[in-house]
Symmetry: C4
Subunit: 364 residues, 4 copies
């Protein structure tokens, strides 16, 4: 098949995973390797999906949920549902409308949109062409000054929170991407950044990893600096280790994203859903926890919430839907997830997100 | 192969699972997707079979079982064996003789037949053309009046118990079926229902799931209403959660069907055999428990009984046998199961169903 | 390939499992289904091999085993090694030399040979043409008189023990065999039996399993009768349940064969190696335990002995070697196993079978 | 593809495992069976890789590792990193430059090189053509005198430690190699040995394993003799059993190599990484532990160190890289591993090897 972009969603796309084959067809082999691939042997990529399927639900029958809804309060936003589009970089690889299409789709489906520092669309374009709640994902720039300018620009444009990514101070070992020879094609770039991020120059005998990249990596002090230099809430993205979650809470983070970056940084990390219960417990069930990496079904969202999440983010599937049918695809993907979440809630006797608890998880 | 309906059972059909390939061949691709498919990623469909195969038996040798039999008392019926044909909907999809053929086969094999509310044969036709013990499976109708009329018609026709289904107030996420584009072909309909079941109309901003479907879903109160409005015993079908089983017992249900609806409602539910021991314990080993979803072997029946079941229901395999060879196929399928059950009992030293206990299950 | 019988063993046959492909090629599809197949879905067949591979060894280095040997005392026999050829029925299916070839190979390799009641060679032929230690496997006959005559004939012919099979009073559910349409070809028969074993005739409403076959099945009383009517040692073959093992010891059995009949009787029975530790414990480590069903490697023999076995029996692989290269194949197969056993012992620092203990099994 | 030896490393070789296909292409089928094969059913070969992938890491974010390095002290050597090339025999099978190329690559990458007793290059050639730290792997020779001469020659040539192999006093059951008919081709030989190692001649009724090979096998006394007859540190290679590790420490070994010989000796041994924690504990975290058999990623090295290792050895992948691109390939392979190790350390917040602990391993 060579579909081109679809103008309507065929019945064969009945679930998020159905988008992958269409997207693969619309992407170059290199771009597919870049987006579909993950770190090293891709074990974590595999765990991410498998971990959800191994959690069994316990339904509850004959309960009145006719007053049900999926509404939730997340920091400063009242959301119709807890489904957030993740800050996937370089969405122009998928579709010419790129991040504009994703933001429009999120808006149309009453969802929250997060723009990547590595977006291929300018902050100003997003603002001109779309509305709806939006947050800004931050990578620290080459200088603090550049970082400050970036978040100030985002704030000026109405982004209402900063989600700073901390799990990839250095590129993951993305072997599939390396083997493919992928590089950004002409016309796709991180248009909001003044400079490409570069490692420190190293001397003979020094390490490109330690002295090159890691000497520019942000530290806990830098996060505290960031929090002092913005009045927007700051969420920390990319935490798996419960001790890191605890530290984030201690320094006053507004929330964290429990994430292994879709398996793209360090291979053989556990799935976020595996570590979530420990993270929820160590932060005393008080820190807003957003979960990504492996959510493919409304029932996965239900499970994440049952185990302590406040909301979820969706990455690759959004990119695949975008590559298949632009804004229409992304809107459809969000709607599918929301419908599936509502169905799961209904069959488990939960009228609201607050009703979802560990009681709905089967324990042998 | 294109077999058409068989007039005799070939030696290649030596076990229930052997019917599937023949049935697939006799059905349209869409009908096959409808009946063989299950919810979402079909994990529960897979667990259903796998869970039985992972339970290991412990045989017992040199025991006298020459007086053995499989007879059992179930509510108001004395049955020659504990194998019940499940209330599979729309059996006309499988064979023109439809529910008549299944009822005749059950009767010929001394089995109990259950008619679905969504049967493609009228209650009156069943009565005219078949005999033998029969129960009626109930879906709540659009109005209580319609529900009452339906169960009164069933009672008048000699159905001796009502089995009310509670686990599917809304359609499961049957992606395989959706992708196939299945719809009921001309000539196949729920001929005993006055109206198609429809959701409530919803307003802007409301949810089709919560305000549409679930506001018409039955509640525990409705089950109690049903029990007051019939003098037939009422069994509740579709319970997985031990707490629901306990509640069913408390309101006076005559029995329950421990079932995940063949994996067709909510994906990643556990197999009934996984939850059965907890359900048997919480109901104090006193509530008749019928188990379905995944029984494919006489040894599976044996295991279900060892873990607390009183009887079992067989769904898809009956449909497949019907689609392969009509009443002959169904009768053969029931006979296969009964023979396998007797063989398992004999090799485990159990002369009667009452002799089957957890002692026959291998514990590491 | 169509090999015919081989006159020398090619280097491609480096392990027991390598014989299967050669044997399959030399057998009819029906005979292959009969011998390679097992009960129902063949789960137990699969466990039998897998259970050994999942037990991990712990080697021991730098130990002097230069005085090592595999000699063992088993009842009335001093054996050079603990490898026994199992009483596989109808060996004429594999090779015209049949049981004669197997017995000659066992003798050439200093092994113990067991003749099946269902042998396709007469007891007298075995005696005329072969020597070496031999035991007789007994199935109870249609009458006690016939049974007595059979064991008296065996004793007269120099068979030094009776191994009575108790786990298959009725044929297993051998679906693969049934689908193939297998029946014994002309010229292959149970030549030592006066009559084919037949079930009791049954009346209307009775069960072929319970009233037909099982009313002729032997009981513990029959085993005691057997022990009273022979002065040969009696071993009971086909025990998996530790309670049965205990009972066998209590009535004075000389030993038992821990076996699931190669997975041919009741599917989903555990592997003998799984139950062996419990059986060894419940019989106080005093009853000779022979293990079969799944032994394919010398390291498997080592593991069985480490977990409580005195000796092992080899079934299908012996048949496959016979079907490949007659007596030469069987002798080679026994030698392979013995060499592998010695190698395992040497690398685990065990000079004798008595040195093999649970210390050589890796525990996490 | 038929590559011949590569002069540059293509982007398709992004990880160690990528070398295997290139190497297979450059080797005869027999040589491939020899090097890629392992013992018996190759279960241990499979565990070796799988065991690492099943250990999950726990990253740590926002930690300053800009001063990081991989330097370590191992016995008498200060190493830039803990990656040692294993003493793989007969490297001329892979490439005409053989052990010279491997030693040069190790030197270029600041690594430690170990020469096998069964090297296809003379000790003197290594010394003339390469520099850098090197150890000598010892197999006991036919006589103590020959053994002494060998280690004295090694010492004279600047090898700074003796690594004596103790887990293969007899050839493993290398079925894949046997089936292939592999033998050393002309021009490839153990050029440093005076005689081929031969078993003792045996008498009628004796065992080739016990009286043939094992009567020439070294014992703990022989290791003590060795330690008395050299002033070089002696490491014992091939220990899996914690009790053997303890004994090695008690007799004063300078270190051990926790190894199952790449799965080439006794099948179904556990992976070294499985036994490592017990070995580290029983030797009180004081004995230098080198781990091999299954290391394929820098993250595997990280895991080994976290669980108690001081350094690691790389066997087959080095051979494959050599067979693909000579010294260039080996150097690239070592660099890949070191880069991956540094990346793993950086993402886990470990600046030095001493910072790596069990805290970086995910425990459910």
């Amino acid at each position: 098949m060579n579909t081109g972009f679809l103008n309507q969603i065929p019945r064969e796309i009945a679930a998020l995973d159905d988008y992958a084959a269409y997207a693969k067809n619309n992407l170059s082999a290199e771009a597919w390797a870049y987006i579909a691939g993950a770190s090293a042997d891709e074990y974590t990529l595999e765990y991410n999906a498998k971990a959800y399927s191994e959690i069994k639900l316990l339904n509850t029958v004959l309960t009145d949920v006719s007053h049900g809804h999926t509404q939730t309060q997340l920091l400063n936003e009242t959301l119709a549902h807890p489904i957030i589009t993740a800050p996937v970089a370089y969405q122009k690889l998928a579709h010419p409308d790129a991040e504009i299409a994703t933001a429009m789709a999120a808006q149309a489906q009453d969802g929250l949109f997060v723009l990547s520092t590595l977006a291929s669309t300018t902050i100003e374009d997003i603002v001109q062409k779309t509305q709806g709640p939006r947050w800004f994902q931050l990578y620290f720039q080459n200088t603090k000054q550049q970082t400050l300018e970036l978040i100030q620009r985002a704030k000026a444009a109405g982004f209402s929170a900063i989600m700073v990514t901390v799990d990839s101070p250095i590129n993951g070992l993305r072997n599939r991407e390396q083997r493919s020879g992928f590089s950004l094609p002409a016309g796709v770039a991180a248009v909001n950044c003044q400079q490409v991020l570069t490692p420190n120059p190293i001397k003979q005998g020094e390490s490109q990893v330690f002295q090159g990249f890691m000497s520019k990596a942000p530290s806990w002090q830098d996060i505290e600096w960031l929090m002092k230099n913005t009045d927007l809430p700051v969420l920390i993205k990319g935490i798996i280790n419960p001790k890191d979650a605890q530290k984030a809470q201690q320094i006053g983070a507004s929330g964290i994203v429990v994430s292994n970056h879709g398996g793209r940084t360090l291979d053989t990390l556990p799935s976020p859903i595996e570590v979530l219960p420990q993270i929820a417990a160590i932060t005393d069930y008080k820190l807003p926890l957003i979960v990504d990496s492996g959510i493919r079904r409304g029932s996965d969202i239900f499970k994440a919430i049952a185990l302590g999440a406040s909301a979820v983010m969706i990455g690759r599937p959004i990119f695949y839907a975008l590559a298949t049918a632009g804004a229409l695809g992304v809107a459809h993907a969000i709607r599918l997830l929301r419908d599936e979440l509502e169905l799961t809630m209904a069959l488990c006797g939960c009228a609201t997100l607050a009703d979802i608890s560990q009681d709905a998880i089967w324990q042998k």
